[in-house]
């Protein structure tokens, strides 16, 4: 367990030092928010209808960048080999990476939410549901993303492969998170918890699966 914390702290410190997340991923996500506004012509009220969808599309793009960065840092300078030699349990390394990724993505989402509130003048409502959905979805994204991040870091043309591998897999996350937000915003009737429940299943399944599959990835590949 302390190994996982060790890896997480290292990742967060690495992020804090290099400021790639705050310096590059965050501005990128804000940029995309603006681009969508340009594309969808705010006057016609289109933005208001598509806010949660855009939010989660931007989150997915940002997570691809964040995950790619989190694992490319391990890939260069042969650090993957050092991790293998260190004797840390693969599941612990996986847990540490996922925890660090989740925190970073939650920060991105928080800033993004405020930006969307300002630019698209959305008044966020139903905090319990939306925060719950956001946390569960982000865990799922980080859980599946870490496995594909490790794969992408290992293969030569990995960075272009990561979106192709990860985004189709995250389709259900995109659907459920968006619908969950729509319900939270009151733009859609019906209970919100089923969406959160399905997200919970997705995250739980892929977190356990990731922990199991990280061993062969680290050992052999």
């Amino acid at each position: 367990m302390h190994e996982a914390l060790l890896v997480m702290k290292k990742d967060l410190r690495l992020e804090w030092r290099s400021k790639v997340g705050i310096g590059q991923v965050l501005p990128f996500s804000l940029l995309v928010v603006l681009l969508f506004a340009f594309a969808l012509d705010p006057e016609r009220g289109v933005l208001e209808r598509v806010t949660s969808g855009l939010f989660w599309v931007v989150v997915l793009f940002s997570s691809v960048l964040t995950i790619e960065r989190a694992f490319s840092v391990e890939a260069n300078d042969g650090i993957f080999d050092a991790l293998r030699l260190s004797g840390m349990a693969p599941a612990a390394i996986y847990a540490g990476k996922v925890a660090a990724l989740t925190l970073q993505l939650l920060v991105v989402e928080a800033v993004l939410a405020t930006a969307v509130a300002v630019f698209y003048d959305t008044t966020w409502r139903g905090p319990v549901l939306s925060i719950g959905v956001a946390v569960i979805a982000t865990l799922g994204i980080a859980g599946a993303g870490a496995v594909y991040g490790a794969i992408a870091a290992k293969l030569r043309s990995g960075s272009t492969l990561l979106p192709l591998l990860l985004l189709p897999l995250l389709a259900p996350v995109l659907i459920c998170a968006t619908r969950g937000f729509e319900v939270a915003l009151g733009r859609e009737a019906g209970p919100g918890w089923p969406w959160a429940a399905l997200l919970g299943i997705f995250s739980a399944v892929y977190l356990t699966l990731g922990a199991l599959l990280f061993r062969p990835l680290l050992e052999d590949a």
């Binding site: 030092r17 840092v73 293998r84 260190s86 680290l218 050992e219």
Partner: protein
């Protein structure tokens, strides 16, 4: 005396390229063996194979009693590899790196700091981030990170490269000291004069195989006595 490294006709395929094309090599515990040979002969791959990082496509390979064909991950914890890659996070500081790698492998922070001192890494450098260090300093820090793990088998890929004279003396002392406490050292080098007197035995690596075996001036019983 069980061998630290026992390879018979070991082949390593990287993709379709046979980096190692049938290596026969035995290294006793406590022995210091120098790998000599032209670039691209397979020295680095041989070291990575012993570290359990390169696949054994065919043949038999046993390191520290672990059969690498069956489960090559088993040996990794007990092995120290120093390669051209620094194994260091560029954005973290010297101390943060060494602390992380020490604690990651179960050693404690003090081991890391002692290793840094052994490598004579000036304390003023401790809190600099690694990307602002010179190649030689970086090499000392990654050597320290390996030293902190107290590996049983040292696999050094051109340890002297990039080090100044003082640095090379330190490396030689560390190698001798490690061998004296029973660690086994396998290192590749091009500085044959300096490496010659550290090594018990010199082995020639050409075309992905181990070729000539001549004694590096140290008679076997001396090695046996010291192990």
């Amino acid at each position: 005396m069980e061998h630290a490294v026992h390879l018979r006709d070991a082949v390593t395929l990287l993709g379709r390229f046979p980096a190692l094309a049938g290596v026969d090599l035995d290294v006793a515990r406590g022995e210091v063996v120098l790998l000599r040979g032209p670039n691209g002969a397979g020295k680095t791959t041989l070291l990575r194979l012993c570290a359990g990082l390169a696949p054994v496509s065919s043949g038999t390979a046993e390191v520290l009693g672990v059969d690498l064909v069956a489960r090559r991950a088993g040996v990794r914890r007990r092995v120290g590899l120093l390669g051209h890659a620094t194994f260091l996070y560029e954005d973290l500081s010297v101390v943060e790196n060494v602390d992380f790698w020490a604690r990651a492998s179960g050693a404690d922070v003090a081991d890391g700091r002692r290793a840094l001192d052994r490598l004579q890494v000036a304390t003023r450098l401790h809190h600099l981030s690694v990307h602002s260090l010179s190649a030689g300093q970086r090499r000392r820090v990654s050597f320290a990170a390996m030293l902190a793990r107290r590996p049983e088998l040292w696999l050094l890929d051109e340890p002297h490269a990039g080090l100044d004279a003082n640095g090379r003396d330190i490396v030689d002392d560390l190698v001798r000291e490690a061998a004296s406490v029973g660690a086994t050292v396998l290192f590749a080098s091009h500085e044959l004069d300096r490496a010659g007197d550290v090594a018990d035995r010199t082995v020639e690596v050409v075309g992905g195989t181990v070729v000539a075996h001549d004694d590096g001036g140290r008679s076997p019983d001396e090695v046996a006595a010291r192990a």
